[in-house]
Amino acid sequence: MLFNSTEFLFFLALVFSVYWTVLKNLPRGKTWLLLISSCIFYMFFIPKYILILFITILIDYFAGIKIAATEGRAKKIWLIMSIISTCMVLFVFKYYNFFIDNTNAIAKLIHWNYSLEAMDIILPIGLSFHTFQSLSYVVEVYWGKQKPEKDFVTYSLYVMYFPQLVAGPIERAANLLYQFHAKPLFNGALAAEGMRQILWGFFKKIVIADTCAAYANAAFNDYESLSAISLLLGAVAFAFQIYGDFSGYSDIALGTSKLFGIQLMRNFNLPYFATSIPDFWRRWHISLSTWFRDYVYIPLGSSRVSGWKFYRNVFIIFLLSGFWHGANWTFIIWGLIHAIVYCIYFAIWGNAKQKNDPATTPAWKSWIGGLITFGVVVLAWIFFRAKNVQEAWAYLHAITTNSFSGSDVYNFLPLLLVLIPFHFMEWLNRNSNNGVFLSSYKLSPTVRLAIEMIMAILIIDCFYSLDHEQFIYFQF
């Protein structure tokens, strides 16, 4: 079920009503309701894939209990078994064909008469998200930071909770499980905040991302004949498309969850206002970057190790992050670009610069840093968006060799009418601690209502007059 569908609105209204009325005094019933709703939500895509999810849940549930109950080698074996079984599903569905294609290509290169058949399978939706969420649980239990969840229904809900099931945020057990156990009481202020966040999420997805998608698609579909300015604007359009799309999804997820009294972690914090690449990664897809930080980067020694090991760690993290997004070299190069720029930044300014208070940094430095960072991010997005590496290079080549300007620019310039106001709206949101538009301002109810109505009308406008793009991150 897509968030940007009428089915979802009816589904949410129904679950919300039953949750707070019929089951208002039945905490156990509420857990069951959320779990059943999550199953229905998931089965709207490919129903039979729920069995895969169920098996993963079952293995990690028992592994969690066994890890906590054993010590030493047995504990480690349970952990490894759980990680392997969970990652095996990910490998088979997401990486097997990539592995086969590359093995075949290498075999052909060395004239070895060897060929493996690729599988004709569809990737289960949101697989990378719930896999990482399951992995974080067993690792936390192994480290002794998290008690194993004994209740199978609650653990299943932790993995399957529908607001964040298919595209995150990748939650931690410590943040979510205790909320499922708490006796939920309706909190009007939180629910109202949730509704505003849903509205803001839909605005970002439908008004911003889908509008930008039309520009980005036009540029990437016809890069051979467009002028350099149009191609640059097309790449910028994709940068805002993916931001509006994914952060919009996250806002809808967070807002939906707040309606049930459950708070999820913030996933975005104005990433295009970042003044450096390290800063960007503290603001973009926070739940994934902190996942890699906690479960890969820190165990590898993080920045405490000296010399080349630090750079090795950075490259591992970014290459893994790229590979997490998809089994395609384009994603790996995307990660590589970020890794290179991250390392250059570190080599010049070191770690101390990262800790500098932005308030004390001169404005001009922030501006220049921000522009360079945005430029690097947009460059990397070209690889992320392209179908393959050749297309990405061809797009970049077209930017440098096609005519600088042409009549096609007039088709792309209107993009600025969308991006400049949106960037200003984002800037207004800079002091918000929850990402909800204008939440840090004290506005009269009438003004707030008027703003909400304008946003709702614009959502209706774009929902019906534009082609809809599926949420990009659903494919991961």
């Binding site: 209107p414 109505m453 406008d461």
Partner: protein, 353 residues
């Protein structure tokens, strides 16, 4: 006061607040829905789209002072691609003219909106109207561009005809009205190749090889035959299996078919009230021609639209076995120019026995 009762009252307050917001949004949308924008604006949206023929029809009717001696064909793409009005004009040496106003997609709501515009707003009185029926199935989906082409009044009245897509239709109209302001920030490709440019309403389809047509037929045959059998079953008073009924209801097909029926009946009534002669043409396609049951759809029409006086209005079907030959088609439903010539000649003979 305990936590539970506080929570209860908060919940009620929240629901009340949301209800107020929904009501305000509804009122705002209604205001926007009725904003009187020019017809040029709405039809300019369609000019370079797949629905370019609708803009062409608007311009054609703008240029037309009288249809008194014109036979008008209205219907879907099977009409647009099947009736060569230029050929009809050549065949008929009398003063009678022919005009093909067929447009892409089968939907009786948009046809009725077109008739309303032509007959009531413009007060044009065609010599005869030929309504279109697909050979193997009932219209079952509302036209995407119905909210652009129809007037607010027509959309509102569709609710009374049980248009289950009324809310999306209403909101689409709202959307296109807002789009008049917001279009300056959107990427709007102007694909001039899509513009329908012709003196006549006939749109010839490109030729396709019979092998490709047969392949398309093979792929889609089962579904189309199922539709055809369902129509036959309905004629004979048989019920569909429960699973099919649930599936059709879930996909809003059952409800939409009822709405489409009421729209077709409304068009027939509209023509009767103005004493405009009309007939119904059942257009052949590969499935209906190959199943050799030309009367099935005609019987369905007679059984479904009982208010039509069939002694005055003919249901025209075609017996020619040539329509079962893939060489006359571009796909399972649409005729190529040779097929259109065959059909046009057959229609001419039906109209001039």
């Amino acid at each position: 006061m305990n936590n539970s009762s506080t929570s209860n009252s908060e919940f009620k307050r929240f629901i009340a607040k949301m209800a107020v917001r929904v009501a305000i949004l509804g009122a705002l949308c209604t205001l926007v829905f009725y904003v009187p924008l020019s017809r040029e604006y709405y039809f300019s949206i369609l000019k370079y789209s797949d629905y370019s023929k609708i803009s062409w029809i608007e311009n054609k009717l703008n240029e037309t002072e009288s249809l008194d001696s014109t036979v008008v064909f209205v219907g879907s793409s099977i009409c647009m691609n099947g009736v060569n009005d230029s050929l009809l004009n050549a065949l008929d040496t009398s003063s009678t003219q022919y005009l093909n106003l067929g447009m892409t997609h089968t939907c009786f709501a948009i046809i009725d909106a077109l008739l309303e515009d032509m007959l009531e707003r413009r007060e044009l009185r065609p010599k005869k109207v030929l309504l279109c029926f697909k050979g193997d199935a009932m219209a079952r989906y509302i036209h995407t561009m119905y909210p652009v082409q129809a007037t607010p009044g027509h959309i509102q009245s569709s609710a009374l005809a049980f248009n289950t897509q009324y809310v999306p239709s209403f909101l689409k109209r709202v959307s296109w009205n807002v789009h008049a302001l917001t279009r300056y920030g959107k990427y709007i490709p102007s694909d001039e190749d899509k513009e329908f440019v012709s003196d006549y309403g006939f749109k010839p389809q490109p030729f396709n090889t019979p092998e490709k047509v047969e392949k398309s037929y093979k792929n889609l045959r089962a579904g189309s035959e199922a539709n055809f059998n369902a129509i036959q079953g309905e004629n004979e008073g048989r019920m569909l299996p429960l699973k099919s009924q649930v599936l059709l209801a879930y996909n809003d097909v059952t409800q939409n078919v009822l709405f489409q029926r009421s729209m077709f009946a409304k068009s027939a009534r509209r023509l009767d009230e103005l004493n405009i002669p009309y007939d119904i043409i059942v257009y052949p396609n590969l499935v209906s021609a190959r199943m050799q049951s030309k009367d099935i759809m005609a019987n369905y029409i007679k059984r479904t639209f009982t208010s039509i006086d069939y002694s005055k209005h003919n249901v025209i079907t075609f017996n020619d076995t040539a329509f079962a030959n893939a060489k006359y088609y571009v796909d399972m439903n649409h005729l190529n120019p040779d097929g259109a010539q065959l059909l046009t000649t057959s229609i001419y003979q039906e109209l001039h026995p």
